[in-house]
């Protein structure tokens, strides 16, 4: 049965005329009406600001998967105007498929968020990309290394981005505890220059900080930035300290 259906499906897809790129949404709408991909990035960031790393990770995961699907679909070149599923994907990830040179930045942002969230969920993600309570130590290590490498790679192209510097420092400690001194120095420098805008980066700094007074000050900054459950989110756990 499958042998008959698959070629038939392929035939139907191939015989449907491909919609020209600009038939669905024109240049202006692409540029000015926020597509779903962008809104999802913003939602991930809102969840991060609320200290909800696990929920944020799930959404970031979906976002990256969606981008990947859209790329695959685009490579096949069989967009079908009006098709519900195609339109949904198109709406969500159009910038990634129609304007790769512009979309690269949206994708890079999504990848950055995914990587730091992987660190914040302690690499406890299965090989299939699902959040788990506990995964094998080798999977966890591989996840954390991959996240660190992704952040380092991005930092090479944006060396003056303080957010990336902070995330790289945070990830480095997660991968290798001996990086703590370097990470502490990086985070202290950013804190001293007043360039930290992520509550959990303040928390990471507090966890590395040896001086109790400084640690309290960092936690206070964390609490100032987090939307809900500030005392719970901005508390150094025994594992962190």
């Amino acid at each position: 049965m499958t042998r008959i259906l698959l070629p038939l499906l392929a035939l139907v897809l191939l015989s449907t005329p491909a919609a020209p790129a600009d038939a669905c949404l024109n240049e202006y709408i692409r540029a000015y009406v926020l597509p779903v991909a962008v809104r999802r990035v913003e939602r991930v960031e809102r969840l991060m600001a609320a200290g909800q790393s696990r929920q944020a990770f799930r959404l970031a995961n979906e976002l990256l998967a969606g981008v990947s699907n859209a790329h695959a679909l685009d490579r096949r070149g069989d967009w079908v105007d009006g098709d519900e599923w195609a339109t949904e994907l198109e709406d969500a990830f159009l910038p990634n498929t129609q304007h790769p040179e512009r979309a690269a930045s949206v994708e890079a942002r999504a990848a950055m968020l995914h990587a730091i969230l992987m660190v914040r969920v302690d690499g406890q993600v299965s090989r299939r990309g699902r959040l788990a309570r506990r995964v094998h130590v080798s999977v966890r290590t591989a996840n954390l290394r991959a996240a660190h490498e992704a952040l380092v790679a991005q930092q090479r192209t944006s060396p003056d981005d303080p957010r990336l510097s902070a995330y790289v420092a945070e990830a480095a400690v997660a991968v290798d505890a001996s990086a703590a001194a370097d990470s502490l120095a990086t985070l202290r420098d950013l804190a001293q220059r007043d360039l930290i805008g992520d509550p959990l980066t303040w928390l990471a700094l507090a966890a590395l900080e040896e001086d109790a007074e400084a640690r309290d000050a960092h936690l206070e900054r964390c609490r100032n930035m987090v939307s809900r459950r500030a005392n719970q989110v901005c508390a150094v756990s025994s594992r962190q300290s």
């Binding site: 024109n26 240049e27 202006y28 709408i29 692409r30 540029a31 000015y32 009406v33 926020l34 962008v38 990035v41 913003e42 960031e45 600001a49 910038p95 304007h99 040179e101 512009r102 979309a103 690269a104 930045s105 949206v106 890079a108 942002r109 003056d160 981005d161 303080p162 957010r163 220059r193 007043d194 360039l195 930290i196 805008g197 992520d198 509550p199 206070e220 900054r221 100032n224 930035m225 987090v226 939307s227």
Partner: protein, 410 residues
Amino acid sequence: MRAPAKRAFCALLALALAASFAGCEEVVPDEPAAATPVESAQPSEDQRRARERGRALVERFQCNRCHTIDEVAEPAPSQNCLGCHRAIEAGTFEASEDDLERWRSHITNLVAAPSLLSVGARLRPAWITAFLLEPKDLRPALGASMPRLPMSEDEAQDIAAFLTRDAGAFEAIPERALVAAGRRAFERLACGACHVFRDAEIPEQAQPEGDDGARLAPDLAHVRERFVSGRLAEWIANPSAMKHDTLMPSAASAEQARALAAYLWHAPLRPVRQTPPPLLPILERRVSYEEVNEHIFHRTCRHCHADADLAFGDGGPGNDGGFGFERRGLNLTNYEGASAGVLVDGRRTSIYAPDASGMPRLVHALRARQLEEVGERDPTITGMPLAHPAVSPEDLQLVRTWVAQGRLRF
């Protein structure tokens, strides 16, 4: 010194003195001067080179993002500030009605800008140079004004040379005897329906409001510095003959135009006394980012300081660079972006940390714009929002309070 030479020397001295006092009080020579060509028909090699440099500078400073300019192409749609705003206002921008309605409520400034066609036929290069270096609120009903750009005096002169390349104008001071007739014509033709003119002898009028004509109508107190005197009456009588896209109507007869020119040139002006707005004290109540974002960042700043990642690579002139400004990497669309600071001399610097003024850099920039509006330029920082009306004292108070309270997010 022979008598004619002495007279010429005195006239020049008077002109120089008048120019040097122009910033304090508007003084102009009284005596009618003989028609004097401002520029010869054939440009010298130096002039030609200055014009070429000026043209390149017009492109570098992206003057075409707001202005229509001869020989300069329209900008790409994504950089056409005015084109987008006008399309949104007119409802021709391709977006949903809801989006259009929402955007319309945000677009209160920068919906019109004067075209720079035939500038040389009317305006003095020296005035253009001075205006580029120290922009004034030339069009009071417009909201937006000419931005202060990172421009040297030589660059401003070159741009003026390019814009006035079609100059063929001459100087001839309008006749003082026609002032009274000019005042009557001004009232009869209702010039004040669009223009502000600070005639010291008539009561202050309310600022005109209305369509593009009123928005773009210049404050006529600047005419004496701005206009080539010998072209003023001609302009008033038949503006579209001098500039085909002007919104100025041809309402005056030749005789009325001469009288109006005399009136604008010689009528005593009411002095402008502007005082800086007060710096209100820090509030005692809690101020959150959401409130500051709603009043300031979201309303104004993020249009130029956008999030480059989410705007598909274009973070706007205040982030990726533009209007002659280098990349500053400042993203004011969200809390994290603002916290990542701004590039100052290539180094990331917090916008909340005090700068040399002792104020947080963000507060300093907003305050500088308030002072620019009353003619007090701060050479150490560009006032923000660039080219837009300054934030209100109450909004600045919000920002100062928020920063002082440790920038609470919620």
